[in-house]
Symmetry: C2
Subunit: 326 residues, 2 copies
Amino acid sequence: MGGDGGIDVTVPAAAAMTARAEVVLVGDRERIHAALPAAAPELTVIHASQVLSPRDSLADVLRRRPDSSMRRALACHAAGHVDAVVSAGDTAALMALARSQLGMVAGIERPAICKDLQGMRGRFWMLDLGANIGCSARQIQQFAHMGVLLARHVGGVARPRVALLNIGTEPGKGPDVLNEAADLLEADPRIDYVGFVEGDGLFADIADVVVSDGFAGNIALKSIEGAARMAMHLVQNWLGSLSVLERAGLLLARSKLAALRHELNPQGYNGASLIGLAGVVVKSHGSAGREGFQQAIEEATLEVAGEIPRRLAEGSADPDPAFSPS
Amino acid sequence: MGGDGGIDVTVPAAAAMTARAEVVLVGDRERIHAALPAAAPELTVIHASQVLSPRDSLADVLRRRPDSSMRRALACHAAGHVDAVVSAGDTAALMALARSQLGMVAGIERPAICKDLQGMRGRFWMLDLGANIGCSARQIQQFAHMGVLLARHVGGVARPRVALLNIGTEPGKGPDVLNEAADLLEADPRIDYVGFVEGDGLFADIADVVVSDGFAGNIALKSIEGAARMAMHLVQNWLGSLSVLERAGLLLARSKLAALRHELNPQGYNGASLIGLAGVVVKSHGSAGREGFQQAIEEATLEVAGEIPRRLAEGSADPDPAFSPS
């Protein structure tokens, strides 16, 4: 029921993904059926009588909306009826309900938000993107392990390189907690730690996993989105500045221009993982369209296929160090 | 003497700016004369026998390089021989030497690094971009005043709107210190405070001055640079993907394509202000070319013309509140 486009986005997107996953829709049954495309396959719909609103406080979300679609979907996951939950609703609400419904993996102190972005060579995973402000070095190390797990078992990166997001690359730069985390990662035999990375190196194939607390990670991600939108705006202005003749010349390259615009779109790859939970929960960007929501569903199927929760739980049962991402 | 390109960048750039400023070059006299273009006007050269190296510690910079070009240039400024210093050297070294040579404006606790970027409508000023990790709410308020001063008297923005960089726009979001700073700015009659802004809103003409501590600001700025470079990379790839025929079609729009590439270049506007000091000091990006270094010189001339140090000093002499940016 969530996201800017609501069920007009989520329902058709879900209907288009039935070859990849057995999709269960949770929300207002009548509205969902009305939004289903005519030719859509038969989908399971679980009714929920309430929808969370952006004005709901976390107390509302957790205690005063017992039949919200988000809560019901997560309860289905907790009960084992589904393997993953995908939502376009509010991130803080999703994180709070997921923690209360699914619980954390033992040994992980804090859940994190992780997303992969396209770099100049390959994709890279960033976490935490906003779940935690102010983390300990030990928590940052746990984020590194979780990121490695996703890069390896969802992204297929055999030996993910890990970097810490900082405001300088030399050891000693930036906040103390990052230097403590650097020491932990350096000494961690399961981590291929490559050092600090700055924002301008994120896309330069320096690391496969870039770790930070949720404040720095969110600032970086949102700034990237802002800059990407600015770049698209400049490309649009450029197109608008062309004469009829110049535009005619460009017509030949039109389909490839559409591909460029797609690649410049910061929402081109949608779906952030809520990681550290005893389950698979993927957050779709509120402004994502149908294609974007399909990508979020695809991300969930990949995490299920990669057995992320099991690996996380097994790893974290290791006595010392806390867990192995292998 | 500083920057990736050294005097091959700075000297010709300075020689090209003599119509805008009376340029004094400080560094190795012989090498500077050798780097001067044949047709260059007569420029004053002040010899300095040492050049700072990236391997120099701050203790080296401050105590063991008494005749470094950077120190000598700042000493010239402190003695009143020049109105501003422009350097492509190390930021931390420049900040440390500038503080020791010029001193701070009374009433300002910390200097900040400020830079303006092109947004979708107009330019906007960001600070602090890396001089201070962990600031008090009061220091953030001082940064806001300094940013307003630059936006107004260098940028010509009559009533600059001020926002705080955060990871959510609703009051209460993010770290406590930002919410304390929001209260201070809200209550400050000299500040047109418009609330929190996220990274994805930086370019969207929400604010003219975006304030943060140096950690968040640096993460945002560098991430923008990284994303902009990624966008340029995608445009390059797109051009490379075109067939001969498609490229021929594009030839018509070639000059405008060059303009687009220029606008996408994150170094398109170069020159960061070290603000809060009793003087005008502009840092040119280490990787800036001649045109970029000229922009940094231009920025310095604008700050001198805008009488930034005087306004800062007069404002900060106000008993309560600490100073007025008007």
